[in-house]
Symmetry: D2
Subunit: 307 residues, 4 copies
């Protein structure tokens, strides 16, 4: 045969599962989008269409919903670990499972009325509003021996309205850009971080605390870095995480430079003293880099994918 099969995987993508946990009248909510990709001894289905080794994607969907009941959802990471372990250990032809999860955050609706239907003086017991700020992500990969957990987020828009410069750059015959000594620095953060937990023998991180702390350090580094380039800011964001979170060895960011152009108001007799900006869509600078704990290896792919 002149052609052969290369790397392949399959599974059910974007299983939208909402889990309600009831603590008396007080409810808790987890809202996930779960995608499963399985690989292993799958040559025959590609070559001949024999499905003998193929657990249907419909079954992977059923498993996601059943496990939400059987194991609950303490965190997206822990839920993904249950799922990945199950597929690899229960189906002989499946040698590797990758589970990707998006998580959407909800918070309780505030109320000022002290009402028995509410948690405290000012929070509803089972009424929620979606926060919308960012989407939390995780990816669990398991091959029967080692785990790889990469978590992260996307669509977190941040802006510094000053303390950003850009000058001293290389110039060639196509360079017309003016140097900037006080500009807006805005981006929409897409970030991924890899945990050094790889083995069932190790203690697992506290996934929820880790996420909150990582997000906090990243935002603070963005806010506190006086920026000479978005690359420098990116590096500081990654280094701050590595410095503070011992469970993380690698961070990768993809940061679009959301250009805010100072509008020329002189034709109208007005002086624009870094006040009025046009927020542009395209094109945008795109800055991508990995920051590593010294001695560790880069494993997060160069291109961050959406899901």
């Amino acid at each position: 045969m002149p052609t052969i099969l290369g790397p392949n995987q399959y599974g059910k993508a974007e299983n939208r599962v909402v889990k309600i946990t009831r603590d008396g009248a007080t409810h808790h909510i987890k809202d996930l989008n779960v995608s499963v990709a399985l690989s292993g001894d799958m040559a025959e289905v590609h070559y001949s269409g024999s499905n003998a080794n193929v657990l249907p994607t419909d079954t992977t969907k059923n498993t996601v919903y059943a496990f939400a009941k059987e194991y609950g959802i303490d965190s997206a990471e822990q839920f993904g670990i249950h799922l990945a372990r199950h597929f690899v250990t229960s189906q002989e032809p499946i040698h590797r499972a990758r589970v990707r999860i998006e998580e959407y955050a909800w918070e309780r609706i505030e109320t000022s009325d002290a009402d028995s239907r509410f948690v405290g003086a000012d929070e509803a017991k089972h009424s929620f509003v979606r926060t919308g700020r960012e989407t939390r992500l995780t990816q669990i990969t398991y091959d029967g021996e080692r785990w790889e957990v990469v978590s992260g987020l996307k669509d977190l828009a941040v802006m510094n309205s000053t303390d950003s410069e850009f000058w001293g750059y290389a110039k060639d015959g196509y360079t017309t850009l003016q140097e900037a000594y006080d500009r807006i620095l805005a981006t929409q953060v897409s970030g991924r971080w890899r945990f050094n937990w790889t083995d069932d023998e190790q203690r697992t991180p506290d996934w929820e605390t880790s996420y909150e702390q990582t997000r906090k350090h990243m935002l603070q580094a963005f806010a506190e870095t006086y920026s000479l380039s978005l690359q420098q800011t990116l590096y500081q964001m990654g280094a701050r995480i590595i410095d503070h979170r011992s469970e993380i060895d690698e961070v990768r960011f993809s940061l679009p430079n959301k250009h805010h152009f100072l509008v020329d108001l002189e034709p109208f007799g007005l002086r624009n003293d870094n006040e009025v900006y046009l927020a542009a869509d395209r094109p945008y600078g795109l800055i991508e880099a990995t920051v590593l704990r010294d001695g560790c290896e880069a494993r997060i792919p160069v291109d961050l994918t959406n899901l």
Copy 2:
């Protein structure tokens, strides 16, 4: 001529303007998307292509940016009023201006470090993160005499995880739905409310306070209504606003019923006691209605448009 011109309007849409206001080292930000539509004595440009009465859309764009400097942006509503008044009063052929504005909310990045670069003990002076929760909207219309201001929001996702039923409905030969006595009620609110301010002689509402209070009452009504139908909840949300906000005479909502289906886990020997739901995309129920102050007239169009 066998054909004639009907209603028409033109202008520059989606002008993205970011305005930074500096209070010493502390910055404030307004982030708007402004669309202008003008109409008036415009038959000739349609019939013959003569542009003599046409102020270019490029000029409407320039005006948006210039006015951000000249007048500042206290609120989206006030900014739209400045713009609409300008076009109608300065250009003789323009008889009516409609300004639509989307506003994106930002909040300060939190920091625990008491640092001179920060507002308080825990907020950055000029570093922001976009909240993402909903998009605030307003539409200002002016014809040289009367004002119409319709504000609102879109993409606010809310959920009650209990206290919702649906039964006792009409049935015909195509009805298979089972009655529900405890279901999730979830929607993505798109709402518009019309102010009774129409005249320069009246005192203008406090637009910022009005928005915050209207949003609060709407959310509380959603949380506090024990629901027998989404229509009932919708009505309560509108009535609560009318009851509490004397500046508003009309509210219209478009509420998709974001179905959350209880997953059948019995084939796997599991009992799903209102715990595990599949969040569906399409189709969805769509419930739309206007709630009016008694004696007032409905003026918000039946179909809410995006911008």
Copy 3:
């Protein structure tokens, strides 16, 4: 009660139905997205939550799928007429039905092999590729007596690479635009046209032929109009339809002016003789107008909605 109910409607939106019709081994396909909105005697469900008059949206969904079998889908318009008539005539509390349909076009996959599985020498009998060019739309409204049918399309991108000028416009203190004597004219057409068929006694138009011809005349008018303004081109597009299609009395277009800016290449020693353009996203001019058969009334709403 200080508040009252205003205009309202409800139903199931975005029912995705695919209908395969088999002519021996040759298959035909219709791919629709159907949204139903019903209104009538619905005050009680809003005021008290009593669903006695409410046919569930789940039933409207079932009806869409059942009617695809019972009546087939000759055209989106005819299918919508069957649905609207059913709801108004079979449910006493329902006084008005509005059915909106999006249609996605598919064409047969071409093949050069004369194979028994294929329609002719070069077309597959039951293999299709989606054309993707535009989305066809229709909206059927029925109140038990009169019909209103408004059809149209969205997302049809067209471009003239010359034969477009823009000059002689009004100027004010915010005008900086240079006059243009040879520019690209590009837009993404959103159009709606209203049929004068309103009564079961009249002969119905041939909906499929009408769509193809209307689209053709519209495109030809766009191509053949030497444009002094997008308003002029819009009017010609509408007038051409009215002139050639006696079944249509009213046309409305919403035409974004998709700006293509001539790039200044002089800093690089190059002359840009209307060759290299930057296609901009936002802002864009937005030109909207109705063209009417003389003596007819404008009924299509000012704002075209997506679905």
Copy 4:
């Protein structure tokens, strides 16, 4: 330092360039979205913010537009080769360039009028309509010595309305799926193919012919494969390309299984003989695999990215 820099790249993304070529009154159009990513000796800008080695992303944008004039755009691939070579050979710190291009296809507006403004009897000379069917893609990578060209497409929706089965699959305790002996097979093709052209000494492929032929073979294989699984169809699509196109050594597909569920019409006394389907959104099966010319190595990444 406890942290170090890992893989990184930067550049201007999504430069939207439209190039008009004039052949007398007949115009030709190329419509591209070009993204440039550069890497090399970039540690210092990340560590200290020194931009000495950083050619601004604004310059990469300027270069895209200038090259559209200097070299024209014969094909997306050839245009990307000019750009990648330029950055690597002209800037000492840049060791590697990756250029990604999306191409949008336009066709001439048809007209039946024999008019001097038109190309033939029935095609406009400079009026175009966007075809919309799929987006063509290419990615050019150059390190100063070797080239890698990966082309492809995305968003090509295809459907077989019969000749697809799915049965004989693995079952476990979470399996409820019924076997199918006649189902719709529909997908939205995302495909990438790698050329074996790697060296300036080799003759370059005819990029335009290669794309058209590759697309044709892929569609025919989809249409002509009696499918026992989507994996089998995928493999046939890839193998057909490898078999017919000697310039291509590797093909990777990501194929969502766009489920079309046969609607149960029995409750309404109707028999659904593979006629009426519900087209579902999420979840969907996702089948991904690489097909290789025997003896070649898989280099296309497991996850296909959008741009």
